[in-house]
């Protein structure tokens, strides 16, 4: 399959939207584009499973065109299992995001145009095998978020949008220094070539922090997580879903593919710092969530905590833990998107997101409430749903690291699950159980678009939860490849 289709389709959709006049046309085209994206990603998965040799971690469907010749910049794309998992995640969230925004009337043309532009950035980022192209798409995905939050957001939207844009741009500025350093020490931007000729450890030690912190800002690395709560809570529903489901994953994927894969020695040297920061993020995020009263803030702070697991898995540097990190990215993406979608549904009906002002929703909106419970249970790691699989894998992998301090970190991270259970159960209980407010008694339940969006996301969550071996087989070879780099350089 030609991978460039994954960029071209959303781009064409976006351009098509520009030529529409009526809001209904815009939505139809966006939905159509999103469906094509999902079909394409599923087809990609199918072709990959057909053509892919078991156990091999080769990048499939590669294509490469020269872009800026004197600088050896190529448009080089290719995918392995990890990228495919991310692409599937993106496709699911795009379609769900379009569906839940079905009732958007304010400047709908611009709104859907920006959503599509954002997905161009995400797909491009996940398929890039060239650092320049990767960086290009990383930045493509930032500015639409600024506009989405600033124009369609709620609350202190301008402040949040600016904070988010500046922090993410700061992150990409650091990434820039990292990749410029890699280029001037290897003479190429090509990820595969750089991986074959390892950089000297001194060089790695200089540029690893730039790349890791840079991408880390995107994935809420402590102490650069402060954009997450404000950004998520001010964003419109679909933008929150994109932000938590796709955008934060760009960071995790970058930490793995660029920082850890290309500079494994430095990853070893600095792993204790990563673990420290990740553990702080997990525990701090969990406790901060306990104090929140706004549903979106609850989910935003719990995202900080959950993305901490991704970084913890990467920092532990065992095969299982990295597998877990990828699983957690996919799982958290689906789960948090579902959460935000449900919060959006509740908010559009009750016009409040404060837990204290909600209650008893199960009686009037059974569908939404059920989805809310599923998202909550997935978040706290109930077996059978994706959250359990991912977190369990991270913990198993982390425990394999024999260092006693690392084990302490693992224990602390495990303990945070209890806190998660507290805030999730409390929020769920207060929102959907108990006495209902008189003004909420006439709410109508989910519409077709909302049901469909929730259905798609829940399907993903349940498939991963019930049959984790499927996704494990998909991402396994990719993480193996990263691990051989990490281990190969330590025990030659």
């Amino acid at each position: 399959m030609n991978l460039s289709l994954l960029i071209i389709i959303p781009l064409l959709t976006a351009i098509g939207i520009l030529f529409c006049n009526r809001s209904q046309q815009v939505k139809t085209i966006s939905l159509f584009g999103a469906i094509v994206q999902l079909v394409l990603s599923l087809f990609l998965l199918f072709q990959y499973s057909q053509l892919h040799i078991i156990g091999s971690a080769d990048m499939m469907f590669q294509s490469s065109y020269s872009w800026f010749k004197p600088l050896h910049i190529n448009y080089h794309v290719g995918v392995d299992g990890i990228s495919i998992a991310m692409i599937l995640l993106t496709a699911c969230i795009v379609i769900a995001g379009v569906l839940v925004s079905w009732t958007t009337e304010k400047l709908s043309k611009e709104y859907f145009f920006l959503l599509m532009l954002l997905s161009v950035g995400a797909y491009g980022f996940f398929i890039s095998l060239d650092l320049f192209t990767l960086f290009f798409f990383l930045e493509v995905a930032v500015i639409p978020k600024y506009l989405l939050i600033g124009i369609w957001g709620s609350g202190k939207k301008e402040y949040s949008a600016m904070k988010l844009a500046l922090m993410l741009m700061g992150g990409s500025a650091l990434v820039f220094v990292g990749i410029a350093g890699i280029y001037w020490n290897t003479g190429t931007f090509d990820i595969l070539q750089i991986a074959q000729t390892p950089l000297p450890i001194d060089i790695q030690k200089i540029f690893f922090p730039f790349a890791f912190i840079g991408f880390g800002v995107f994935t809420a690395l402590f102490p650069f997580h402060t954009w997450v709560p404000d950004g998520h809570s001010s964003a419109p529903t679909a933008a929150s879903m994109f932000l938590a489901g796709i955008s934060m994953k760009l960071g995790g994927y970058g930490c793995l593919r660029v920082a850890t894969y290309l500079m494994p020695d430095a990853a070893h040297a600095y792993s204790w710092i990563i673990i420290l920061l990740a553990t702080i993020a997990i525990i701090y995020g969990a406790f901060a969530t306990m104090m929140q009263t706004d549903l979106k803030y609850i989910n935003a702070y719990s995202s900080v905590s959950h993305c901490g697991f991704v970084l913890l898995g990467i920092g532990m540097l065992t095969k299982t833990s990295i597998n877990g990190a990828v699983l957690q990215m996919v799982s958290h993406g689906l789960m948090t998107a579902l959460f935000f979608a449900t919060i959006g549904m509740i908010y559009s009906r009750t016009h409040t997101r404060l837990v204290a002002q909600l209650g008893g929703l199960l009686k009037v909106t059974p569908f939404i409430s059920t989805v809310f419970v599923i998202a909550g249970l997935c978040s706290l790691g109930l077996p059978g749903l994706s959250g359990f699989v991912a977190e369990m894998t991270v913990f198993m992998g982390s425990w394999q690291n024999p260092d006693k301090w690392y084990r302490l970190a693992t224990i602390l991270a495990c303990a945070s699950i209890v806190v998660t259970a507290v805030y999730i159960l409390r929020a769920t209980g207060k929102t959907i159980m108990g006495p209902i407010r008189s003004t909420h008694e006439t709410l109508n339940d989910a519409q077709w678009n909302e049901r469909l969006a929730a259905g798609i996301l829940i399907t993903g969550i349940v498939i991963i939860g019930m049959a984790p071996f499927l996704i494990n087989e998909l991402i396994g070879p990719g993480t193996d490849e990263i691990m051989t780099k990490v281990l190969g350089t330590v025990n030659p």
Partner: protein, 469 residues
């Protein structure tokens, strides 16, 4: 010989012809302003077209004048910029009493810049520089009724005179220490003698005035604010671009032996320029002042690229100036329209601009994104290559500080985007019907902003020319 001479100097010759045609037109019967402007724009279009024909290297008048493909390209970029500015000033000039004079002044300035770019001798260089500043000061005074405009002209002429004297002092010291004024011979006599370094510093300061590098930037904001928008955009794009071209070629060829010395100077100057430009830009409310400070910061980034001292460095500078022409002129085009039709020049006047003028808002937004360096606009590629070229020297602290400064610049560019899209305003600027000429100019700019980055051939071509330098 005669034909060669015409071909090699085709840019200058065309300009001289146009200037004379305009003079004769002024002597003849009175024409309406629109008529004049149609004629001028047609002539300028011919001027742009002529520039692309014939691409020969050559040296004339005992190395006083030289030309090569890179210089031809640089002049073409300036020609395109001039055409765009001329089309954008349509609305402003329509009611002005002295249209031909305005163009004669600007085109003389251009002529000076072309001679400066092609100079092969410090005297010729100085001559070109003077020709490019004095008419410009007169043009800055072209809002005849406004006092601020005269003030701007005065400030421009004083600061130019001061910088010229520094430059002349530097030139004479260089002549004193090397015994020659010819570009190709100077490097042979340079040996890092302290007096030579001193001479170089004077020369650098003189040039730094022209491109408003901190701490020589103090005139910029006042002049930009006072001068008519057309002149401001000329100052910030064409005039700056020309001096930057010369700056690169002089540093990379004539003063190559002093590279160790000027790297350190550029290091300090560029960081200072970026930081001062950025910090001052944050607080501005007048759009022209704002763009003045943001353009100071942009020059700082260009200096980062120059400090790379490789073919990447010079290619990225030429490439960036090309992008800068499109993106800055797109911004100035919108401001020029709004300012000449409504008289509003403040950023706060643009609140809720999107409600009434969606097309202009998007043009302005794309232009600002390109200036900020956000993909997919061309500015991203420009900034990337500048910083990337600078990183080639291996001074990553420098690059990190510069890259982090991008955040500040994002802040103030996004602040305007916020004003346009997100702020509430009971009385936004009324809907503006864009006349044909400015419309064409704006669309050209936007096409440039969106396409130049993706058409990698342009960069490849510039790079192939620069590596021969």
């Amino acid at each position: 010989m005669s034909i060669d001479f015409l071909l090699l100097m085709k840019h200058e010759m065309t300009l001289i012809v146009i200037i004379f045609v305009l003079m004769f037109l002024k002597l003849g019967k009175d024409r309406s302003n629109e008529r004049y402007m149609n004629i001028v724009n047609a002539l300028l279009l011919v001027n742009v077209a002529v520039g692309f024909f014939g691409n020969e290297d050559g040296v004339l008048f005992a190395e006083m004048f030289r030309t090569n493909k890179l210089m031809v390209l640089e002049k073409n970029i300036l020609n395109v910029g001039m055409l765009i500015i001329s089309m954008q000033s349509f609305v402003w000039l329509k009611t002005h009493k002295h249209v031909p004079e305005f163009y004669i002044l600007l085109l003389s300035t251009m002529l000076g810049m072309f001679f400066m770019i092609s100079a092969g001798n410090l005297l010729m260089f100085y001559l070109g520089l003077e020709l490019s500043t004095i008419p410009l000061a007169a043009a800055a005074n072209f809002d005849l009724a406004k006092r601020r405009s005269s003030e701007a002209a005065m400030k421009l002429i004083f600061s130019s005179a001061f910088s010229s004297s520094l430059l002349l002092f530097g030139i004479s010291l260089i002549y004193g220490t090397t015994g020659t004024l010819v570009f190709s011979e100077i490097p042979l006599h340079l040996n890092n003698h302290p007096l030579q370094i001193f001479a170089f510093i004077l020369l650098l300061a003189g040039l730094a005035f022209k491109i408003s590098v901190a701490p020589f930037h103090l005139w910029t904001a006042d002049v930009y604010e006072g001068a008519p928008v057309a002149v401001t955009s000329f100052l910030s794009v064409i005039s700056k671009g020309a001096v930057l071209f010369v700056f690169v070629s002089v540093l990379y060829t004539v003063f190559k032996p002093l590279a160790g010395a000027w790297y350190n100077m550029l290091f300090i100057l560029s960081l200072l320029t970026i930081i001062i430009g950025n910090l001052f830009a944050i607080r501005q409310d007048n759009f022209k002042r704002f763009l003045a400070f943001s353009s100071i910061a942009q020059v700082g980034f260009i200096l980062v690229g120059i400090s790379g001292s490789s073919a990447f460095g010079s290619a990225s500078v030429v490439y960036f100036v090309l992008i800068y022409v499109f993106s800055n002129l797109a911004a100035f085009g919108v401001i020029s329209l709004v300012s000449s039709l409504t008289g509003k020049e403040n950023i706060s006047d643009y609140k809720a601009f999107y409600k009434t003028n969606p097309v202009l808002s998007w043009i302005l937004t794309l232009a600002l994104f390109s200036l900020a360096g956000v993909p997919p606009t061309a500015g991203f590629f420009g900034k990337f290559f500048l910083l990337f070229a600078g990183a080639g020297k291996g001074n990553y602290l420098f690059i990190t500080i510069a890259a982090l400064n991008m955040i500040i610049s994002f802040y103030y560019y996004l602040r305007i985007v916020k004003t346009i899209f997100m702020d509430e305003n009971a009385t936004p600027i009324a809907g503006i019907a864009i006349p044909l000429m400015p419309r064409l100019a704006l669309y050209t700019c936007i096409a440039g902003v969106l396409a130049v980055g993706f058409i990698s051939y342009i960069y490849d071509y510039i790079h192939s020319l620069s590596s021969g330098m």
